[in-house]
């Protein structure tokens, strides 16, 4: 609360930054567009918020490229921050304008990918895991290994996301490789080939996932931790598992486009997004892990995220995803398409 007053004061002193309409580019339903959060922000700063959504990272970049001046805050996954910065789409962040900045996890604010060229260009906001979730009606005991995806017992009730990169990364983990430096592509390919007959369908959104899981089409499927928290809060009988091989970690940052004309209001909004008051309320509805250590400490003991980060051994197994070159993305996609076409 104090920090917000401070931000408001800062915004005032910055001059004319009061009562502006800022435009936020994000996934739909991903924190920034919660009704109460926007209303609180407007009440506290006078600024109003309009949202625009993207449905893929490529599309987010396209929108930034083709609509200069249209956005003031944009959510960018750390694997894309460097690309956006290199193309001149986003600016370095003036951390002095973000009152909560001092409370953010230094491991995240110092993250190499959020600091292209040594300049922080995305404020770390949330992070989470892509791992597996199981239907607790089918599993009396939680699986401990990724090999459960390959277990013939679940043939026809396994699902992974329809995404070449993610499929390749899971196969890399299952073959004991580092997801960011895959050396043995042949092993990955062989492993994926074994996986495909197990699959019932590929999922592509939380919407399908929830429906297929609740109808019993899935017994075990890859999933995002933030989504698992949300599905749990909606009453789906699932458990999120981080197997011994590890999980894919991702980090989302909030950036300010170079072309924004309302950078102070944008910074004030980002500050609100990393505020503990905001996060604790969001977490109750199902959210990924906050970058703010004070916010995490303020969570109730029973919170999914609190439990997720409680065990250092789990966190240590996470392999954070680094930027992937266009050429690698295309290679993985082609491999994935070839395999799906052969079905």
């Amino acid at each position: 609360m104090k920090s917000l007053l401070l931000t408001t004061a800062l915004a005032l002193t910055a001059g004319g930054a009061f009562a502006e309409e800022i435009r936020v580019l994000n996934w739909q339903g991903y924190g920034t567009d919660l009704d109460w959060a926007v209303a609180d922000f407007t009440e506290k700063t006078g600024n109003t918020v309009v949202h625009e959504y993207f449905t893929s990272e490529q599309e987010m970049l396209t929108k930034l490229r083709t609509n200069p001046g249209a956005y003031d805050v944009v959510l960018i996954n750390s694997a894309y921050t460097k690309q956006a910065k290199d193309e001149g789409l986003i600016d370095a962040i003036d951390t002095a304008k973000i009152a909560n900045f001092a409370d953010l996890d230094p491991a995240l604010t110092g993250n190499e990918d959020l600091n292209p060229g040594g300049q922080l260009s995305g404020v770390p906001w949330t992070w989470g895991l892509t791992s597996i979730a199981v239907n607790t009606a089918d599993f009396a005991e939680m699986p401990t290994s990724l090999s459960v995806l390959w277990d013939p017992a679940w043939k026809g009730r396994v699902s992974i996301r329809d995404d070449g990169l993610e499929a390749v990364q899971f196969a890399a983990m299952a073959t004991g490789q580092n997801i960011n430096e895959i050396t043995d592509m042949a092993a990955v390919e062989a492993k994926l080939k074994e996986l495909l007959p197990q699959i019932t369908t590929f999922w592509s959104s939380e919407n399908d996932w929830n429906q297929f899981m609740s109808a019993g089409d899935f017994a075990v499927a890859t999933y995002w931790s933030g989504s698992a928290a949300r599905s749990l809060s909606k009453g789906l009988p699932i458990a999120f598992v981080v197997p011994e091989e590890g999980a894919i970690g991702w980090l989302d940052g909030l950036s300010i486009p170079t072309s924004s004309t309302k950078k102070d209001a944008a910074a004030a909004f980002i500050d609100w997004m990393v505020d503990p008051e905001f996060y604790v309320k969001w977490d109750a509805e199902g959210a990924p892990v906050s970058s703010n250590t004070k916010a995490l400490a303020a969570l109730p003991e029973t919170s999914f995220n609190r439990q997720l980060v409680a065990d250092p051994a789990t966190v240590a197994r996470v392999q954070f995803m680094r930027p992937v070159s266009d050429a690698d993305r295309e290679t993985y996609l082609k491999l994935w398409q070839d395999m799906k076409a052969a079905q």
Binding site: Q28, G29, H51, T55, N210
Partner: protein
């Protein structure tokens, strides 16, 4: 087999096809009244989704925008498309086959590609984004459907009728208004219905070309799918279908467009 028996059989078949066409609509409506957010069976009655819908300004506004855009698109596409169909029917000129073939790229090329192309091009020439851009895009995607459908009706039109009217001294415009259009009216209505459907379900173009905040219903549905949409969407869709059905039955009661002789 007697003719009457065959006629009954035919009506029964028509009923069966209508049941097939409405099966998912019935399921959609049922799920708007089902308690489970994930469409889980067995069915448990709940009015929750309708309650929530009344308070969901975003969905209501998006539905309203979708409807008025679709109405404007239907009027424009049907008018332009009918004029073009009549010209293609009446006149022979070099390049006519090419013009007809050009109707297929917008249908054949996936809308994602056409939408992306529109986005770049509209920015390049300064149309930019906004409702006018959305309408320009929708009309263009609906036009080929209108032209193909109206042309299908014109194919069975006897030009002798036009010539007879002309020989009686009617002007070309009078002939069109009094002879040609009444004959092809069922085709124009069908074309208009398809144009409405194309616009009302159009996601990609609206999505790329809308101003932030000005969402349409399909855009709202597609963008919320990543995090999951609720049966409020079923509720609004059910209301739209029910109201349209009422309006259509009224229209059928008081007008004639099916082409009765």
């Amino acid at each position: 087999m007697s003719n009457r028996f065959l006629a009954h059989l035919g009506r029964a078949y028509l009923g069966l096809i209508l049941f097939f066409l409405y099966a998912p609509i019935l399921v959609m409506a049922a799920m708007s009244l089902n308690a489970s957010e994930f469409y889980q069976l067995p069915f448990k009655f709940s009015g929750e989704w309708y309650d929530r819908l009344w308070n969901n300004r975003e969905i209501l506004a998006a539905a309203g925008r979708s409807i008025w855009i679709a109405v404007v698109v239907t009027v424009l596409a049907t008018t332009l498309g009918t004029a073009a169909s009549i010209a293609l029917y009446r006149h022979d000129f070099p390049g006519k086959r090419i013009l007809q073939a050009l109707l297929f790229p917008p249908i054949a090329i996936p809308w994602l590609i056409t939408g992306t192309a529109m986005l770049i091009f509209f920015f390049g020439i300064g149309i930019g984004r906004g409702t006018p851009a959305v309408i320009i895009g929708h009309v263009a995607l609906a036009l080929p459907y209108v032209i193909v459908v109206v042309s299908a009706r014109l194919a069975s039109f006897d030009r002798v009728l036009e010539e007879a009217a002309r020989s009686l001294g009617a002007s070309a415009w009078q002939v069109t208004r009094a002879v040609t259009v009444p004959w092809i009216l069922p085709g124009i209505i069908a074309g208009g219905l398809f144009a409405f459907a194309v616009s009302f379900d159009q996601f990609v173009v609206s999505y790329f070309l809308s101003e932030p905040g000005d969402t349409t219903l399909p855009v709202l549905i597609y963008t919320s799918i990543r995090k999951g949409f609720t049966p409020e969407i079923n509720a609004i869709s059910t209301i739209i279908i029910a109201v349209s059905m009422g309006l259509m039955l009224l229209a059928a009661r008081f007008t004639k467009f099916g082409g009765d002789r």
